[in-house]
């Protein structure tokens, strides 16, 4: 009966939303930015600990729906320890995927495919994108909060 709902709320998504990875404020983050979805009032802060060109730590805090929290959790897990350039590439790949474009995702980003069907729910795409916008803001060292609008 609820098969179609399982398209968007896949098991991986639900797991990450219930027990998110890296939902914490790191003791020595040197980059952070707030993502804000004015539609629902959700806020996600992304923290980076970037040294040379490597993201030693990626974490987040905030409130959000299952989709945005799962997206943040999978994002931090995928990017911890990776080169900063990979974060930029991931932002492009995930936003394109959610935009309905055909994209190749590298193995380390494969888990995010669980969010692929969110693209069939236009009102929910912003939820999935929210932490990625915050990540982008942190990389760009934006001080104002980044909105999904």
């Amino acid at each position: 009966m609820n098969d179609d709902l399982r398209d968007i709320y896949r098991q991986r998504v639900l797991q990450h939303s219930r027990q998110p990875e890296n939902r914490r404020r790191p003791s020595h983050a040197n980059r952070e930015a707030v993502g804000f979805n004015p539609l629902c009032g959700d806020k996600v802060t992304v923290y980076l600990d970037q040294h040379a060109d490597t993201l030693d730590d990626v974490a987040f805090e905030g409130t959000g729906c299952a989709i945005s929290i799962a997206s943040a959790s999978m994002m931090t897990q995928a990017l911890r320890g990776r080169p900063t350039a990979d974060a930029r590439a991931a932002i492009a790949a995930i936003t394109a995927m959610l935009d309905g474009q055909t994209v190749d995702t590298p193995v380390w980003l494969q888990e995010l495919r669980a969010l692929e069907n969110v693209r069939d729910y236009p009102s929910r795409v912003k939820c999935a994108v929210l932490p990625w916008r915050a990540l982008e803001g942190a990389l760009d060292q934006k001080t104002e909060s980044i909105t999904t609008e």
């Binding site: 009966m1 709902l5 968007i8 709320y9 629902c40 009032g41 729906c65 989709i67 729910y121």
Partner: protein, 414 residues
């Protein structure tokens, strides 16, 4: 607004009423549509759709302009709608009925026009449960004039703290803005008591009636308010049409807020003479079809009877609240004694947006989010709620469908 109005007339036949609304008879994701998002916008009966369509097919021309037949017909229909609105809200004269784009524009009109008199240190008093449309126009006005916005508190159940609000009336208060029915909490406010206290200090009162006019009889003279703003689309009329009722002596003293055609008697480069009420406040070609559609909506609602509608809705709201209360993990937001049309809630830790998506899959349309009342959400310490809002064409079966869908959400996401 008497919410307990019991009518001597036979109870509303909801199945017959539903036949009048073509949009209700459809499936969404394979389930029958249960439209419980009426506080955002209500649906239209065929009578309204037909009135707008007929006007465009047969009668359209500009109003108050031509000597030709179609212009007469359009003017008669437009002004006929104004008379229907006057009777609907119990105003003394059609000079007191200004057509606007909606509630928001009506409030902005008052803020712009009445606000011209405001000085540094003057005060505008509103409540904590206002919709953004009854907050932001006053904030803009305060920025322009140096006036101060005062906000009366509300209780944890969503009841206005009336005594606190009245105590906040001061010698500097220039206007009170209060919502008749809260869109996020459903609270019905004691408008008459507020008006009495404000008038004792000669302070005008603006009532945001956007959520009230569909749910019970509104009489502006009984309320005694100076301004009453409402929207067509929240009461089965078209979008883009609304009304500002303004007491004639108040409107007479207020300067126009927009300039253009229609709002003038004569124009020369040395002097322009403004038109009489209500045209002084209706610059440019108005939303003629919208007004006619609103008139048709009023005819339709009056045909059923506002008292019958109120009685039916109060029973359905009680059923909705009771059934929601049975769901495990349910937290009802807004449980004031006097309520109309709306029940906000949270279910366990499930985010309202996730609830909204699951419910949509079960054919149930509700609103999720902050409902353009972010200060209310902040007060309750939540980013948003799920909100079910009913109209007289909703049924107990639809409420049951909502409850079943909530159980699905709980299984999936809880």
């Amino acid at each position: 607004m008497s919410m307990a109005a019991e009518s001597a007339a036979p109870a509303l036949d909801v199945q017959r009423v539903r036949e009048d609304f073509p949009i209700l008879h459809q499936s969404v994701h394979g389930c029958p549509l249960a439209f419980l998002d009426n506080a955002a916008s209500a649906q239209r009966p065929a009578a309204v759709i037909d009135a707008v369509s007929e006007y465009y097919r047969r009668d359209h021309a500009n109003v108050h302009r031509g000597v030709h037949t179609l212009s007469h017909r359009a003017t008669d229909a437009y002004e006929g709608a104004r008379e229907k609105v006057r009777a609907f809200v119990g105003a003394a004269s059609t000079r007191e009925i200004v057509f606007t784009r909606g509630t928001t524009e009506a409030i902005n009109l008052v803020a712009a026009s009445l606000g011209a008199e405001l000085r540094q240190g003057d005060e505008i008093l509103i409540s904590h449960m206002e919709h953004h449309s009854n907050i932001v126009p006053w904030q803009l006005l305060c920025e322009r004039t140096g006036a101060v916005l005062k906000v009366a508190p509300i209780d944890a159940d969503g009841t206005l703290r009336l005594d606190d609000m009245l105590a906040m009336l001061s010698a500097r208060t220039r206007l009170v803005g209060i919502t008749h029915v809260s869109n996020a909490l459903g609270t019905v406010n004691p408008v008459e008591a507020i008006v009495q206290a404000a008038h004792a200090r000669d302070v005008p009162v603006l009532v945001d009636g956007a959520q009230a006019t569909l749910h019970a009889r509104v009489n502006v003279q009984q309320l005694g308010c100076d301004f009453y703003a409402f929207s067509g689309h929240k009461m089965c009329g078209p979008t883009g049409i609304g009304v500002l009722y303004g007491r004639e002596d108040r409107l007479e003293q207020m300067p126009p807020w927009q300039g253009g055609g229609e709002m003038i008697l004569t124009v020369s480069f040395s002097e322009t003479v403004y038109n009489q009420l209500p045209y002084k406040f209706e610059a440019g070609t108005p939303n003629i079809a919208g007004a006619i559609g609103l008139g048709a909506a009023i005819d339709y609602l009056e045909g059923i009877g506002l008292e019958r509608i109120a009685a039916y809705e109060q029973r359905l709201l009680a059923y909705l609240t009771e059934r929601l209360g049975e769901v495990q993990g349910m937290r009802l937001i807004g449980t004031a004694e006097a309520k109309a049309g709306v029940q906000s809630f949270l279910l366990g830790d499930i985010h309202p947006h996730d609830l909204g998506t699951v419910l949509d899959h079960k054919g149930v349309a509700i609103r999720t989010g902050h409902h353009c009342a972010m200060p209310v959400m902040e007060l309750f310490g939540i980013p948003g709620t799920a909100r079910a809002s009913i109209a007289f064409y909703n049924t107990e079966q639809e409420v049951d469908q909502l409850i079943e869908a909530l159980q699905v959400a709980q299984e999936l996401l809880g």
